[in-house]
């Protein structure tokens, strides 16, 4: 295995981990409410930007990160309360426009709270590259991969072993049945936005030291995370993670071996290919329509 291949692979996995976190956020909200949350990318942005300004204000990472995640979660909860809940039962187009409007609103808010510039963030544990099998990897990338792994494990424990998690899963399978057994479906929806926002924020915080952050980082990351969710199958947690990693690696490999000019387009080409040939994605439910 050449050193170049290893380099692309490691970079791809790092980037893929971020896509996986964003895709998980999409899947959780989609499962709870059939809503595609176009504002997901903005949670990523809020996580990164909030951390940046808290660090600049002098707080240590240990305080800044939880505060930033909490801030993003609050924004997610507010989004659900004020934008999604009033429009319950609306059509697909309406909900899409609402979440897109929310993402535009949040970006506008970000330019007021912060500004339009790029901001650098200090890496968690320094930036001395580490050599692995002929390739180099930044310590921050190890953080990205490690934290993502930890989160995925935590989420599977949460959904498999806790009451709230199981309630959320139940709601995603059949909302009416969940209501009938006494699950507060509205609370599940509310919490799922908060959880997705937190996931997005973590992704934003992890990647900010590597790629710098600004008010519009959320747009592309959100869209690509979305492509990853589609690749893995909308609504499937495992699919989100696998889709994210596969997308990240595919993107880096094609940028390296084929054409770096179209690096950003790869995600969308893959998304279109999945939608044309396997719409339910790798792990999604192969459903039919009820007539």
């Amino acid at each position: 295995m050449s050193a170049q291949f290893m380099q692309y692979l490691l970079t791809g996995i790092t980037v893929g981990a971020i896509y996986a976190l964003v895709a998980l956020g999409f899947s959780i909200i989609f499962n709870a409410s059939d809503v595609i949350n176009f504002a997901q990318g903005e949670f990523v942005m809020i996580g990164g930007m909030a951390t940046m300004s808290l660090i600049a204000a002098g707080l240590p990472y240990g305080l800044a990160i939880p505060l930033a995640v909490a801030a993003a979660a609050l924004v997610g909860l507010a989004l659900e309360k004020f934008a999604v809940e009033p429009a319950r039962g609306a059509s697909v187009v309406t909900l899409i426009i609402i979440t897109i409007g929310a993402s535009i609103f949040l970006r506008g808010l970000a330019t007021l709270v912060w500004d339009k510039n790029l901001h650098a963030v200090r890496p968690f544990t320094g930036d001395a590259p580490i050599a692995i099998a002929g390739a180099t990897i930044l310590p921050q990338s190890l953080w990205v991969i490690g934290v993502t792994l930890a989160i995925v494990l935590a989420l599977s424990w949460f959904f498999g072993r806790t009451l709230l998690g199981k309630a959320m899963l139940a709601t995603s399978h059949n909302r009416l049945a969940a209501q009938l057994v006494g699950i507060n479906v509205r609370m599940v929806l509310f919490m799922s936005f908060g959880l997705s926002a937190a996931l997005g924020a973590v992704a934003g915080i992890l990647i900010a030291p590597i790629t710098t952050t600004s008010y519009d980082v959320g747009v592309m990351l959100g869209l690509k995370g979305f492509a990853a969710a589609i690749l893995g199958g909308l609504g499937s947690g495992l699919g989100a993670v696998v889709g994210g990693i596969v997308l990240g690696v595919a993107e880096t490999m094609s940028a390296g071996y084929v054409s770096s000019a179209y690096k950003d387009a790869i995600a969308f080409v893959i998304m279109l290919a999945v939608l044309f040939f396997l719409p339910s994605g790798l792990f999604g439910k192969r459903g039919g329509d009820r007539v």
Binding site: V92, V93, I96, L112, L223, L272
Partner: protein, 325 residues
Amino acid sequence: MLARLASPRTGGLLALAVVIALLPLALSNKYFYDVAILVGLNAIVCIGLNLLIGYAGQISLGHAGFFGLGAYGSAVLASRYGWPPLAALLATTGAVAMLAYVVGRPILRLRGHYLAMATLGLGIIIFMIISTEDKFTGGPDGISVVPFSVAGFALQGERVWYWVVGALLLVAVWLGLNLIESPTGRALRALHSSEVGAEVVGINAAEHKLMVFVVSAVFASVAGSLAAHYSGFVTPSKVTFLHSIELVTMVVFGGLASTFGAVVGAVVLTTLPQLLAAFEDYEMMVFGAVMIGTMIFLPRGVVPSLARLLRPRRAGGAAGKDSLA
């Protein structure tokens, strides 16, 4: 005769023609003419998009792509290769129609979110190709476009373009209204309420959806070509995801399944950013808030909601605002 005047095709068209004819009295300078022309071009795209979203019940988050292809096609053929602008426009429109036909087939097999995402992906890929192939397209800086000239007569200046766009808008509205009232239009509306039901009575859903998709792409492409010639240059900024969203918002805001709603939507949402320019810092926030607010409080759009409000006032009257919707 009064009853005929009340129908959308005659009454509404006449009203629009009167507005277009009288508007210049209120447009006191170049800037206002410019906004009016922009509104007109957006309205043309929206009428086509409304056929797709409002009547056929599909969705497209990538129509800025077709607009951009029309603009760049005309620009490149006319400016780089010296084609006569009219020929460039016709060739570009034909090419876009073919692209929509080829891509539409697999895309329209999808529904709901998946269709939205596929069109989104298509629009973004078009944007990236245009931005990256800078040998042809000038990349992010764009290229300049020669003025539109037919048989030696060049269209230049806001006033001339205003009348051209106004006339084309009337044609587009007329085409849209005619399509809706025709058997094809009825087939589309049947499709919208129940695709399976429509197929059961013999309507070929796939063919009809494809046709609407191609028609809406053509509207967008023509508007794009004209916009390129009018502005004198093209940049990728008109081909972005954001522009696609603005177009969909105009259609939904103005009123789905309402051709005049599409025009109203274009008017309001094209002029809104101009009005908000004074609040430059808050522009994005207000635009986003407007999008959210309209969808929550006026989910059917402005024109149908207003029509519903006015309907009880006209007890028993056949002529009424609702016939304009």
